[in-house]
């Protein structure tokens, strides 16, 4: 199953024992894997902000600690065993990440600081070498600022045009004019899942059209890789970026996957140690992949943590993760609507299986900032604001939304706590 064809999965596909709530996930035991959920108990933590960053399971924290306590040295270029252990730790994490997204060649995995840096790498390296006056880049109005600003910065220097795929009233991509919009486009920057309204985009469909038009596709998979099975060859994209910290991994590590022949033709992004084969007074020769794009000491412990996060998610099964989130999204949309009625506005697609586990909403005329302040007093963590997607906010006709987002450690109790806290905020502001 890919993010394109995601519907409600075949309930017989995987057969772990099913708790009473109908979910294939044993959420109470998953909750127990995340120390922060039992450390913060007054009031109990109802964490509904995983779209911004997920919490970390013990397995990830232990792996990083173990790395520092047993295996740490700088990687590469040393003959002693410890440096080899560190290098192996880094490279085995790379192989795990490659396997997780269906990439056959670990050298196509570039470790960066975060998805933002990954997109900047594509813009500054591929973009600077391939884009100029008369060219166009096609983005969507769903994009996160991380997939907007780097292109605007580069466009200001290179003089290419930026076009925007518009949205329908329920915040889905309006592709009616896609073929015409693709005319002259060299790169399509596309989110797989909106971090604000949860919209899943038809990646495969757009990729086919883009390739026909001669454009490459750079997929912002920040919100999809942590939550759905992902296979770069099925998606057929050319570049894909995501961040470790949204998928149970640590902060400080992001990923760029790219097709080998594209990465090989691209100039290096940052320069320094580690990314060269040779340096002379009159110039340098860049290293092979992936080192060519990893200047300086890499985030080794973070890579180890990300590798452990991949192991953790794979043990659960990404199909199961996705199924759990569709159920929880359906429950949230149904129960919040039943309980709060017309006072509640939910932005984005109405069908739970057309969206990720992200719900942007408005309640009465209470400003999202005020709403989330009251929710906070009940231990309910939701995020108010523009969520780094101001163009999308303008499409929605709002300055800000309150956003709740869930993950494997959330269950219907968390949704019920959210509903109760929203009701209480109504009593507070308009008794």
């Amino acid at each position: 199953m890919t993010i394109d064809t995601m519907g409600t999965p075949d309930p017989n596909a995987s057969a772990p024992t099913r708790p009473d709530n109908g979910s294939a996930l044993d959420v109470p035991s998953i909750k127990a894997d995340f120390p922060i959920l039992s450390n913060r108990i007054d009031p109990p933590l109802v964490f509904l902000d995983s779209a911004a960053s997920s919490q970390k399971p013990t397995a990830v924290l232990d792996a990083m600690r173990h790395y520092y306590e047993y295996d740490h040295a700088n990687v590469h270029r040393a003959a002693y065993d410890l440096a080899e252990a560190a290098t192996n730790a880094l490279e085995s994490a790379r192989a795990k990440v490659a396997g997780f997204i269906g990439a056959t060649d670990p050298a196509e995995i570039i470790f960066t600081k975060n998805a933002t840096e990954s997109i900047n790498l594509v813009a500054r390296s591929w973009g600077a070498a391939n884009l100029g006056e008369g060219d166009a880049v096609l983005l969507t109005q769903l994009e996160h600022h991380a997939d907007i600003v780097p292109w605007q910065q580069l466009a200001a220097e290179k003089g290419f045009e930026i076009r925007w795929i518009p949205l329908t009233a329920d915040a889905q991509l309006d592709l009616s004019d896609l073929d015409r919009m693709l005319d002259g486009v060299k790169l399509v920057g596309l989110t797989a899942m909106s971090n604000v309204v949860g919209t899943l985009t038809p990646v495969r469909h757009i990729t086919e059209a883009a390739h026909t038009a001669g454009a490459v596709v750079c997929l912002d998979a920040c919100q999809s890789v942590p939550h759905t099975p992902t296979d770069v060859s099925e998606l057929d994209v050319d570049f894909m970026v995501f961040s470790g910290h949204k998928m149970c991994g640590p902060t400080g590590i992001g990923v760029l996957w790219g097709r080998r022949h594209l990465l090989e033709d691209m100039p290096p992004f940052l320069g320094g140690g580690g990314m060269i084969l040779d340096v002379r007074l009159d110039g340098f020769v860049p290293a092979d992949l992936p080192a060519k794009f990893e200047a300086g000491t890499p985030p080794i412990a973070e890579a180890v943590g990300l590798g452990a996060a991949v192991d953790y998610l794979e043990a659960i099964g990404m199909e199961v993760v996705r199924e759990h989130e569709i159920r929880l999204t359906a429950y949230a949309m149904r129960s919040l609507t039943e309980r709060l009625g017309d006072d509640l506005t939910i932005h984005g697609p109405a069908e739970p299986d057309l969206r990720g586990g992200v719900l942007s909403f408005a309640y009465r005329d209470i400003h999202p900032h005020d709403l989330s302040q009251v929710l906070n007093s009940y231990g309910v963590c939701v995020r108010p604001g523009h969520h780094c997607a101001k163009p999308l906010m303008r499409c929605l006709g709002v300055g800000a939304t309150a956003r709740a987002s869930w993950y494997i450690y959330n269950d219907t109790d968390d949704i019920d706590a959210l509903a109760a806290a929203i009701e209480a905020s109504g009593d507070f502001f308009s008794p």
Partner: protein
């Protein structure tokens, strides 16, 4: 809930629900400035009409109008500010502004740390209704909401030709 009630005092909610001096003034003769809170998207527009900018500190705020949108803290702060500034001299408005900011900024350095609460002995009497916003200091991320209108006021004063002392 007591912290919350301290944050959202009735008078704040009253200014939020029925904002004073809401609207626009013709520019010119009035001056206009916009302020943004990039974190949460709050937006304030302040229009200011002085009787005579040449009088400098002694110029009187003849009229003031507030536009924009945002949370109850930013909007009520703007509303109260407009009510407090109207009819007063630039010097008085400036004094008010620094009294307000000191009520807010006593704890501004401690962003992220534990915040004890409003300053006990600061002179809040000059602030009138505005003193109701003192509960905001217990919520460091909201201080920027409360001060947005005031930063915008400083800008519109500068536009009107009477630079602030800050």
């Amino acid at each position: 809930m007591s912290d919350l009630e301290d944050l959202y005092r009735e008078i704040i909610l009253d200014h939020y629900r029925s904002p004073r001096n809401r609207g626009e003034l013709a520019v010119p003769p009035a001056s206009r400035a916009e302020g943004f809170n990039p974190l949460c998207g709050d937006e304030i527009v302040v229009y200011l009409q002085l009787d005579d900018p040449a009088k400098g500190d002694e110029a009187v705020v003849q009229d003031i109008a507030i536009g924009g949108q945002g949370c109850s803290i930013s909007q009520s702060s703007a509303s109260m500010m407009s009510a407090a500034a109207k009819g007063h001299t630039v010097a008085e408005v400036r004094e008010l502004s620094s009294a307000f900011k000191s009520m807010m900024s006593v704890h501004e350095d401690e962003l992220g740390g534990t915040v004890a609460g409003a300053p006990e002995d600061a002179d809040l009497s000059a602030l009138g209704d505005l003193a109701a916003l003192r509960g905001v200091v217990q919520f460091p991320v909201r201080i920027k909401c409360a001060t947005l209108a005031w930063n915008t006021l400083a800008e519109v004063l500068a536009q009107a030709g009477v630079a602030t002392s800050e």
